[in-house]
């Protein structure tokens, strides 16, 4: 079954210099393992192809049923330099929620 991350998670994003920081939170604790399994750094890098020009790092926060992602070189130089409408990547969190993942029906 194909689902969108929007169905099982919420998120908040911001910046540190030219790095985008996206926190991804499971809507229920039982969805956390699905996020861990499917939302890998590789998938995230692929999802933001053309936007994220550096590496993607992922950190696990099982206590908050959350993952934290750092997307390097992703903000067109950073908050003050960027020519984008969203120079600090505040909407990149919801961009991540567009991702579709294939899950077992039991998940």
């Amino acid at each position: 079954m194909k689902i969108r991350l929007l169905d099982i998670a919420h998120s908040r994003s911001g910046d540190k210099g030219n790095t985008s920081n996206i926190g991804l939170i499971a809507r229920r604790p039982e969805f956390y393992s699905t996020l861990v399994k499917h939302v890998t750094p590789e998938r995230v890098k692929e999802h933001f192809a053309g936007v994220c020009l550096g590496k993607v790092e992922r950190f696990e926060l099982p206590n908050l049923s959350a993952l934290n992602f750092l997307l390097y070189d992703s903000l067109d130089g950073g908050g003050t330099l960027s020519l984008r409408a969203d120079p600090q990547g505040k909407t990149m969190g919801t961009a991540l929620l567009r991702m579709e993942i294939e899950v077992e029906d039991t998940q």
């Binding site: 920081n21 908050l64 049923s65």
Partner: protein, 457 residues
């Protein structure tokens, strides 16, 4: 237990929030956060034009409104509004107090502004390597406009112990504004890592204002009540490091595990080692539980030793930019906007302008989510009622950016039809500041705490 409130998440936040925090329920401390990465370079620009400027002027208006309540209720206020000029900020605050006939002890924490000491440190071998790129500061030394050290919470606690009603700091870690009163009230020592880390987690939960109490919250956002009357977050802190995040009763917004979690994962980097001047905090160590309506309890925070360095935030001039936009209406709004961007790019190319970056976006179609949003389907694109074409350039050469700003308006008469210039005129050329994060050994700089005694004492 002490109550520490946040009444300002950034410079530009609601001018009424500080007043609501002191009037709509009990608090012991009010903290106001004015400084973001981009703020210091703006303050530097202001100070270079006027030696009495360089701090958050809005703060003085806030003081004018809250001071009688602060004194009547003995609420103590801590703000990093000093920016690059805490002394001038204090003079402005004291002038307000004098005008109101009130006597108030205002402390400053300074010593963080090392703009004029950079060469001294470079000569002593501090390279100020960029924490992201590894490059030494010498690459951009001549473009530097400001350099500020992030101090911690102990100088704030010292100012409070000295009897200050108001503490004005320059640059310090945002969460230090909240940790400072805990150290002062509970007598926490510099090596009580778990307690210090708990204060940092609490500070992080409220330092962005209403973003910690239901604002900008995605989880069931449509059901969050009365955002027009949102209550800013408050920490109820206990001496053992436990705390509750809440807000005043009768205000809008929501304090839930979901809304607090969104704020806790905001801009934290590696959650196991969230580094601050006072300790390292482990954001994977604690639990959050709902402890009644609009109350979230946090317990079990673990921390570790601080590092031997302070972070330094350096801003430097990085050229110029201009961004303009026009709006295209149905039919074919999307196709017209695409064509407008193409035409503009071709004209700029023909002019041979020396530009470092050229960027166009179609607002209303895919500007925010970029490639992740994918292109709208041809059917959807054809139906869009309007699309804004936003076009920007950046260059070290100001004249090239100036020349670009003259290209947008002509597009209204010479490009695709059914277009409006949004009445904005030519886009403005702005000087852009970039940000250079670096480190400095702690033993080379020291915070300066100044607590003048009241005249009446």
């Amino acid at each position: 237990m002490i109550r520490i409130a946040n009444g300002q998440g950034f410079w530009g936040d609601s001018p009424d929030a500080p007043l609501d925090q002191v009037r709509r329920g009990p608090i012991d401390y009010l903290t106001l956060d004015y400084l973001a990465e981009v703020t210091m370079s703006i303050l530097q620009k202001q100070r270079s034009r006027d030696p009495e400027a360089g701090y958050a002027r809005d703060f003085v208006d806030v003081i004018d409104r809250v001071l009688p309540d602060l004194l009547a209720k003995n609420i103590r206020l801590i703000a990093n509004a000093g920016g690059l000029n805490p002394e001038a900020c204090r003079r402005a605050v004291l002038a307000v107090a004098a005008r109101q006939g009130l006597d108030v002890s205002v402390a400053t924490v300074s010593g963080d502004d090392i703009t004029n000491r950079l060469d001294e440190f470079l000569n002593r071998g501090v390279e100020f390597r960029n924490m992201d790129t590894g490059e030494p500061l010498s690459v951009i030394r001549n473009q530097v406009r400001s350099a500020s050290v992030y101090f911690g919470a102990f100088p704030i606690a010292e100012a409070l112990a000295g009897g200050a009603q108001i503490v004005i700091t320059g640059r310090c870690a945002d969460a230090a504004l909240v940790l400072g009163p805990m150290i002062h009230e509970f007598g926490w020592r510099p090596d009580e890592w778990n307690k210090l880390a708990a204060g940092i987690v609490a500070g992080h939960a409220i330092e962005c204002g209403a973003q910690g109490s239901g604002g900008n919250c995605q989880d069931d956002w449509q059901t969050i009540p009365a955002l027009e009357d949102i209550g800013y977050p408050i920490v109820e802190a206990e001496p053992d490091g436990g705390f509750v995040i809440t807000k005043h009763q009768g205000t809008g917004g929501r304090v839930s595990v979901a809304s607090v979690t969104e704020q806790l994962v905001y801009e934290i980097g590696d959650p196991r080692a969230y580094l601050t001047p006072d300790c390292s905090a482990d954001f994977t160590s604690f639990t959050l539980t709902q402890d009644g309506p609009d109350r979230v309890r946090c317990a079990g925070v673990h921390g570790g030793a601080a590092t031997p360095s302070y972070k330094v935030s350096i801003s430097y001039a990085a050229g110029y930019r201009a961004i303009g936009s026009v709006a295209y209406a149905w039919p074919d709004a999307y196709a017209k906007a695409e064509a407008g961007a193409r035409i503009l790019a071709a004209r700029i190319e023909r002019l041979g302008l020396e530009l470092d970056a050229v960027h166009s976006e179609l607002l209303g179609a895919n500007a925010c989510h970029g490639i992740a949003a994918a292109q709208p389907s041809p059917e959807l694109a054809a139906q869009l009622p309007e699309v804004v074409m936003r076009f920007g350039v950046r260059s070290k050469n100001r004249a090239a950016v100036e020349r670009f700003t003259k290209e947008i308006a002509p597009l209204v008469l010479s490009g695709p039809p059914s277009v409006t210039g949004l009445g904005a005129g030519r886009p403005k050329v702005e000087e852009v500041m970039a940000y250079w994060p670096a480190l400095i050994p702690k033993h080379l700089v020291a915070p300066v705490v100044s607590v003048p005694q009241l005249v009446s004492q």
